[in-house]
């Protein structure tokens, strides 16, 4: 059988040259105990826990939300019945932009991309009949926003003391930087609010994960796996340095409940190696850079999500396969929680069918493929260990690049980060046009006409008016004097350097709305426009 030339250089998706064969030679400098080690022990290369999936499967947790809290509750119940084991709120656009639904700036967008939540009652509705004491929730909140306080207040009402409540707040500067949203304060304000929450939780809600450093959205802008880890670690450093500067909470308490959120993209082995490298790097940052010896402080507990940017509009069922491989990579990479997208990600919000298939993908891997039989099955592979090392080395270089810019906040302010995104976007398009990257059914094997239809999901158009009515009623029925006082207090605290979170909680308890909270941020810090030039 003829074989083609093997002289052509071959690269991973992030540009690492890949040899045709890896052998013991390639890993001979690895010290097993120092560099690979045991799962559950530094440097955590093989996994953050000793028994991993043999002890407990990863959480099946999908970012979901649409139309109204009632509709979302119904969907969450279905997901739970189908076998999902954790919740994750996809909030409506009004949440990240900090506007109320009757704000004319947002009324055209309300209800289309997530669930609108404006009060503790709304949060309660979303979780009606669901076991939040058993299933933790991820909140993709606006920084200093309403969702986290609302969740805490709901938990308290249900008899769960704050020091027991479990879940995660997004709270990540890195992911926030990768979107282009209006009505935002500048990155240094973001950092302030974020660190306030982490500080507060370290003392009052120690089981909560008050931050999930998140490189998912940045990755979807087209940056590479190397840049993804680099930006993620640089963000961690920014947060810890800020607490170091403040000196209010011992660093080991501050970092104890750091969580992470990453993408899983197409290059199967690179993505697995990425997770292993990231675990090792976090441990080194925590232990070596910050001198924190407690090994439980250096565990990179990660939620991964299949990369939406790889899911095509054309022949959407192909995405079942892409997502299957991405989720498998997440499992072989040792993730704690996984979101498989709906195959219709590039078509609409997930239909019931797409949701079912996403959950089934995770269940099939967990229960039929036996890949959970052993911990870190790829450990020792000459290729995977080499790739892990290469990714780590290149990611450190990238962290340094960001440090040279003055850290993550400075790099965002100066526009450097956005220029990185933009180059990545444009370079990807060139590769696509040149065929250097293949997207089956799109730039290769493209069919002239659609081979099949898939069901479409449309959010309920009546819901916008209902939400506007609701918030008007909320404002009428609440104790407006109490709200005014709480907002005034929040304003004072914001302008000082005190921790804002208690005042935010009080305001939310008094039924302040997202728009009102957002307004205070912007009045104190000024609005900031993302430095994106076309």
């Amino acid at each position: 059988m003829t074989t083609g030339s093997n002289d052509e250089q071959v690269f991973s998706a992030s540009g690492i040259p890949i040899r045709d064969l890896y052998t013991p030679e390639d890993v001979k400098d690895i010290d097993y105990d120092k560099d690979i080690g045991l799962p559950g022990e530094p440097p955590f290369t093989r996994g953050v826990y000793r028994s991993m999936y043999r002890g407990q499967l990863w959480t099946i947790r999908r970012l979901t939300g649409y139309s109204t809290p009632e509709d979302t509750n119904k969907r969450y119940r279905e997901e739970y019945e189908t076998g999902q084991t954790g919740f994750s709120i996809a909030p409506d656009i009004s949440t990240p932009v900090g506007m109320d639904p009757d704000d004319p700036r947002v009324s055209a967008d309300v209800g289309h991309s997530g669930v609108p939540i404006y009060s503790v009652e709304d949060m309660d509705t979303v979780f009606d009949g669901l076991p939040i004491e058993r299933c933790a929730t991820f909140l993709a909140d606006r920084v200093g926003g309403l969702l986290t306080p609302a969740y805490f207040l709901m938990a308290e009402k249900r008899g769960i003391p704050l020091d027991q409540v479990r879940g995660t707040t997004a709270n990540c500067l890195c992911t926030w930087s990768s979107m282009d949203l209006g009505n935002q304060p500048p990155p240094n304000a973001y950092l302030r609010y974020a660190v306030d929450l982490i500080e507060w939780c370290a003392q009052h809600a120690p089981r909560w994960y008050p931050v999930s450093f998140n490189s998912y959205n940045p990755r979807d802008n087209g940056i590479s796996a190397v840049q993804e880890i680099g930006m993620l670690m640089a963000t961690v450093i920014q947060y810890v340095d800020e607490q170091k500067r403040r000196g209010r909470v011992p660093l080991e308490k501050f970092v104890k409940r750091f969580a992470f959120n990453m993408a899983v993209n197409n290059d199967f082995f690179e993505e697995i190696a990425k997770l292993r490298a990231a675990r090792r790097m976090l441990l080194k940052i925590i232990r070596d850079r910050y001198g924190i010896q407690d090994p439980s402080c250096g565990q990179l507990r990660v939620h991964v999500q299949s990369s939406g940017s790889t899911h095509t509009h054309q022949e959407p069922l192909n995405n079942l396969i892409r997502i299957a491989y991405q989720v498998m990579a997440g499992v072989l990479g040792g993730a704690q929680s996984i979101h498989a997208n709906g195959y219709d990600e590039a078509v609409c919000l997930p239909t019931e069918q797409a949701m079912l298939l996403a959950i089934r993908t995770e269940q099939i891997i967990a229960l039929e493929t036996n890949v959970t039989n052993t911990v870190d099955p790829l450990g020792g592979s000459y290729y995977v260990e080499s790739l892990t090392n290469e990714l780590e080395e290149r990611a450190w270089d990238y962290v340094k690049k960001i440090e040279d810019q003055g850290g993550m906040v400075q790099a965002i302010l100066s526009g450097w980060i956005h220029r990185e995104y933009k180059s990545a976007i444009i370079e990807y398009e060139h590769k696509l046009a040149a065929g250097d990257v293949t997207v089956v059914g799109v730039n290769k094997f493209r069919l002239d006409k659609k081979p099949y239809e898939v069901p479409i999901f449309r959010p309920d158009p009546k819901s916008t008016d209902m939400l506007i009515q609701r918030i008007k009623r909320l404002r009428e029925q609440r104790d407006n004097a109490r709200v005014a006082a709480a907002l005034k207090r929040l304003e004072e605290v914001t302008r000082s350097d005190e921790n804002t979170f208690p005042a935010i909680m009080e305001a939310v308890k008094a039924h302040a709305t997202p728009g009102e909270l957002g307004k205070i941020q912007l009045e104190a810090y000024g609005p900031w426009t993302y430095p994106i030039s076309g």
Partner: protein, 130 residues
């Protein structure tokens, strides 16, 4: 080829924050020799005003949430109200095929869903403006 370059205003009339598509298409237009005014987030009135001020030939809208019908019709109205009804309107993003006829009736000249090759969009503009 001494004629005035084709001028295109690229904007996102909604609030959702995905900017990868609009950047990619803007870059492709620039590479193709068109003049691009990058508007980023602009509500329909602002799009109308800018289109008029800049005297553009084409307005390109990028929308990845399902509220495009309303945003597009508002934008087209703003353009017409300012006497810019002759400006070509293009729409890109996540659009349901069953809505294409209604969008065309509204006045959208071309709809480009994600996964459309850049060269197809450029070619469309060339053909439509020749």
């Amino acid at each position: 080829m001494d004629e005035k370059k084709i001028k295109i205003l690229m904007a996102k009339p909604g609030l959702e924050g995905h900017w990868r598509g609009i950047i990619a298409v803007s870059a492709a237009f620039r590479d193709a020799g068109f003049e691009v005014v990058y508007g980023g987030h602009m509500r329909p009135p602002e799009i109308g005003a800018t289109a008029s001020q800049e005297d553009v030939d084409i307005v390109g809208l990028s929308i990845l949430s399902s509220n495009y019908t309303r945003l597009v019709s508002e934008t087209i109205k703003e353009l017409k109200d300012r006497g810019k009804g002759d400006v070509m309107v293009l729409l890109g993003g996540i659009i349901y095929e069953e809505d294409f006829p209604a969008l065309k009736d509204m006045g959208v000249a071309g709809v480009f869903v994600t996964g459309t090759p850049m060269e197809d969009i450029v070619e469309f503009v060339r053909k439509a403006t020749s």
